[in-house]
């Protein structure tokens, strides 16, 4: 007597797919900070701020006041305005460079992990060569050659992010290509392009995205470090890193000039990490049966 299940149990119907995680207050605080930073960076031009470049030599290193909420820096420029415009720089470089790395590195990684063979050897080899260069020196050399600008900086940092993204994508693709659903797609007669885009990409996106958020945090700090050394964004554009660098001279008189941008950077990087972690945990499709 052959019997077949004719319908799923009501259990399946009654239970909507619920994510078990609770998003704690820390997560929401991080989101809050990120939203704030993004908002002020985007709408900086519309905010009633004093100019970030106007120097007021009489009001150098002025403490907090009504006219200058966070005081002024060593050249009399409004600190708050500089912080806000600095956020812009950090976010632009911090977001765009990893995106470049992700797109190029991700594509290379997926293709080399899927097709293997000589292409893979070529890609992995070139990435190894790129990784072997001491990154700071490479940045110095390139910038000395092409000149300092936000665009150049973003580009070079983006290129430096490519090998790491390539590795993550390749590792994920290697594991996934062995799983039966990829073989099933091949057995169905799907073209390589279809398999890469429809089957592999949605699954590789996940680890790549988690890596991306980590990359943002890292690049913000790297940009900050370069600007601190005077090699990043050229003046008069303010960047948190260059502000910290400038604040160095005033550490005994007005330590806030170094600490304010440092705190801003710290909170932003922390927020990205927290949100990244939580998002990764949330979007992880749970494996296994009931």
């Amino acid at each position: 007597m052959a019997t077949l299940e004719l319908a799923l149990d009501e259990e399946i119907l009654a239970q909507p797919v619920k994510r078990g995680r609770r998003l704690g207050p820390l997560f929401w605080a991080a989101i809050g900070w990120m939203v704030l930073v993004f908002a002020v960076a985007i709408f900086a031009d519309f905010l009633p701020l004093p100019s970030s470049t106007d120097m007021d030599m009489l009001e150098r290193r002025a403490p907090f006041s009504a006219a200058h909420w966070l005081g002024t820096d060593g050249l009399g420029r409004d600190e708050l305005a500089r912080l806000i415009y600095g956020a812009r720089i950090s976010l632009i470089v911090g977001l765009c460079a990893p995106v470049i790395g992700l797109t190029i590195g991700g594509a290379l990684g997926m293709l080399s992990g899927y097709f293997r063979g000589r292409f893979e050897t070529l890609v992995v080899g070139s990435m190894d060569v790129l990784l072997a260069f001491p990154p700071l020196i490479l940045v110095l050399a390139v910038i000395a050659f092409v000149g300092q600008s936000i665009f150049n900086l973003t580009l070079i940092l983006g290129v430096l992010s490519v090998p790491a993204s390539m590795r993550v994508a390749r590792a994920a693709t290697l594991t996934l290509s062995r799983r039966e659903f990829v073989i099933a797609a091949q057995a169905l007669g799907a073209s390589h392009a279809r398999i890469l885009l429809r089957e592999l990409l949605p699954n590789v996106m996940l680890p790549l995205f988690a890596f991306f958020l980590l990359g943002v945090a890292v690049i913000i700090v790297v940009e900050g470090a370069l600007s601190f050394l005077g090699l990043g964004v050229p003046p008069p554009t303010s960047s948190w890193g260059s502000m910290i660098g400038e604040g160095r001279e005033s550490l005994d008189i007005a330590p806030r000039l170094a600490f304010l941008p440092a705190t801003a950077m710290f909170l932003t990087v922390l927020s990205f990490n927290l949100v990244g972690d939580a998002l990764r945990a949330l979007t992880d499709p749970r494996q296994g049966a009931l």
Partner: protein
């Protein structure tokens, strides 16, 4: 022959908190194993047999809550001092798991793993331990045992690894061996060899054994008593011949019927059991098997049938409508 009771599981229940609610993995189980006897525990995935074996060994996950008693050789393992318990495990109480690749440490040589166990429990010096290891490997049928001592688990085949795991388990002359699906991952010819090996060693050492499996064929010829588990409870328990010839619980009958028989003609439709094993986080009111049981009637859906004995005290089952006519293997 009266065997003294070596292991007595009394009213053991295991609860696991999960994001979806409390999971009753094991629901008030009573079992006894006599010295030198083999108990087979049969059930499908999710029935609680693995959790039960962990409960005996007191190796449950941290969040699990255990209630009841596990009396081993006169001592209650649940309330035993952790240090004493550790000494007991490996020495008097041994385990063989399903997947030898994960139960053996992949970065240590076979020799190291064997010798370590011997030195820890029997306090032998290095040389005696080494000699004993070679003897053990030979006893479990591994060719060229001296060479194996320096090999790593991944250099051996699945069957060989399982033999090594058995050698480690037997190394300290345990009184009770728990074999949790020891052959499920192995080929059928190797399976036969491993089961023969276990039976042989058991007879030689007069050791008690619990054989946990989902395969009724495995328990048929190799156990003295069988307990069938479903949804965390023991639903039928009987001496092996009685279970196969005079089964009373419909689940046991259905399980046996669903196995393709080697002597049946091809293309005979199998009497499949409809539905699936229940979700342990959603306990069913009444008998857990009632949604799938073809004999289920009113009382089955509201009350849980108790495990009770009918004719002979050794044969217990939990069913309100046990099978009257003997189903199963014709006498």
């Amino acid at each position: 022959m009266t065997d003294r009771v070596l292991l007595s599981i009394e009213n053991v229940a295991v609860d696991l908190p999960t994001p979806r609610g409390n999971l009753r993995a094991v629901d008030r189980v009573d079992l006894k194993v006599g010295a030198g006897r083999t108990l087979g525990i049969v059930g499908e995935s999710g029935c609680g047999k693995t959790m039960l074996s962990r409960a005996i060994l007191q190796l449950l996950p941290k969040k699990a809550k255990l209630s009841g008693r596990v009396m081993f050789d006169g001592q209650d393992l649940v309330s035993l001092d952790p240090e004493k318990l550790r000494k007991l495990r490996g020495r008097s109480l041994a385990v063989v798991f399903q997947d030898p690749m994960t139960s053996l440490n992949p970065v240590l040589t076979i020799g190291t793993q064997l010798i370590e166990t011997l030195q820890e429990h029997l306090e032998l010096d290095a040389n005696s331990a080494k000699k004993r290891s070679v003897e053990l490997l030979a006893a479990v049928g591994i060719p060229a045992p001296e060479q194996r001592l320096t090999q790593y688990p991944h250099q051996l085949s699945g069957g060989m690894r399982q033999r090594v795991a058995i050698a480690i388990a037997l190394s300290c002359e345990p009184k009770l061996l728990i074999a949790d699906e020891p052959t499920t991952a192995l080929d059928v010819t190797i399976q036969a060899q491993i089961l023969d090996l276990l039976a042989r060693e058991q007879r030689r050492r007069h050791m008690a054994m619990i054989l946990i499996t989902h395969d009724l064929g495995v328990v048929a010829g190799r156990t003295d008593e069988v307990a069938v588990m479903y949804a965390g409870r023991v639903v039928e328990r009987a001496p092996t011949p009685a279970l196969f010839k005079k089964m009373r619980m419909p689940y046991t009958e259905a399980l046996l019927a669903a196995i393709p028989k080697i002597d049946a003609a091809p293309h005979t439709l199998l009497p499949a059991i409809s539905g699936r094993p229940p979700d342990p986080t959603r306990p069913i009111k009444g008998c857990s098997f009632s949604p799938r049981c073809r004999y289920a009637a009113g009382q089955c859906h509201t009350e849980k049938p108790p495990l009770a004995a009918a004719e002979s005290p050794a044969h217990q089952y939990a069913c309100f409508h046990p099978i009257e006519i003997a189903a199963g293997v014709p006498a």
